[in-house]
């Protein structure tokens, strides 16, 4: 089975470009004829991850693997890591700075939304080294 892979580099602290990678994946999936529901799930899950990388992790790398059965997103950063994943997964918990909140982010819904819109999600995090999140949306 063929797998198509796309790779994106996410710039740190650049809210003017945040979301470009997710938008690009969204338009590619649409062109491939992926169902609107799956496209929406991927777009939301990936955008939340992308925004998290911009806010918390000095950017990072996103790799998207697309097959006929699933879409897998791997988000890798070399940020500060997540000290308490259970706490971070709670809706409403956020450590986003005020400047980010004034843009309308920082409601503490990023990780919960990523979990809600993906069919599988795994988080590997090491304090001071970085975080890798793998999400899958089944087709």
């Amino acid at each position: 089975m063929d797998v198509i892979t796309f790779h994106y580099t996410i710039s740190p602290d650049d809210f003017t470009r945040a979301g470009e990678a997710s938008s690009d994946v969204k338009s590619k999936l649409k062109k491939m004829g992926v169902t609107p529901e799956a496209v929406r799930k991927v777009a939301i899950a990936m955008y939340e991850g992308e925004i998290n990388m911009v806010i918390h992790a000095k950017g990072g790398e996103i790799t998207v693997h697309i097959s006929t059965e699933r879409i897998e997103m791997v988000l890798e950063d070399v940020g500060p890591g997540i000290p308490d994943i259970d706490l971070a997964m709670q809706a409403g918990y956020s450590t986003a700075p005020d400047a980010v909140r004034s843009l309308g982010f920082g409601a503490g819904m990023g990780l919960p939304n990523m979990k809600k819109y993906s069919d599988e999600m795994e988080i590997h995090t090491v304090i001071g080294e970085g975080t890798t999140i793998r999400m899958v949306v089944n087709l």
């Binding site: 809210f15 938008s23 939301i44 309308g104 920082g106």
Partner: protein
């Protein structure tokens, strides 16, 4: 009601006319926190908000909102206007408060059903 029909009501000032204006509006949606809108904005909604920055447009595009209506006299900044053009999303504005703007859309939509 389609996006085009909403534009043609003249109730709101048009800032950018995007693609697929023949698309039906499903319902109005009110939210100013992008993180919440990201998870909750219904597909095809007319999203009424006071957040006039480019991230609003990114969220509108990713959640497949039909259009964005900026309330309370908020105007999009230059980056947001560019994003509207890039993403081809219809953006309108109004001096009305969020609730009243959304109510106006809701009345038009429920009038259709009647």
């Amino acid at each position: 009601m389609t996006i085009r029909e909403l534009i043609d009501t003249g109730e709101f000032e048009t800032i950018h006319v995007g693609e697929r204006t023949d698309r039906s509006i499903t319902k109005p949606f009110c939210c100013d926190l992008l993180s919440i809108a990201m998870g909750k904005a219904p597909e095809g909604c007319a999203w009424v908000t006071v957040m006039g920055n480019m991230n609003t447009l990114a969220v509108a595009s990713l959640t497949d909102a039909a259009c964005v209506i900026l309330a309370e006299g908020v105007a999009p900044d230059e980056a947001a206007k560019q994003k509207a053009i890039e993403q081809n999303i219809t953006v309108m504005k109004t001096g009305l408060p969020i609730f009243e703007a959304a109510l106006l859309i809701e009345k038009r939509l429920s009038h259709e059903d009647a």
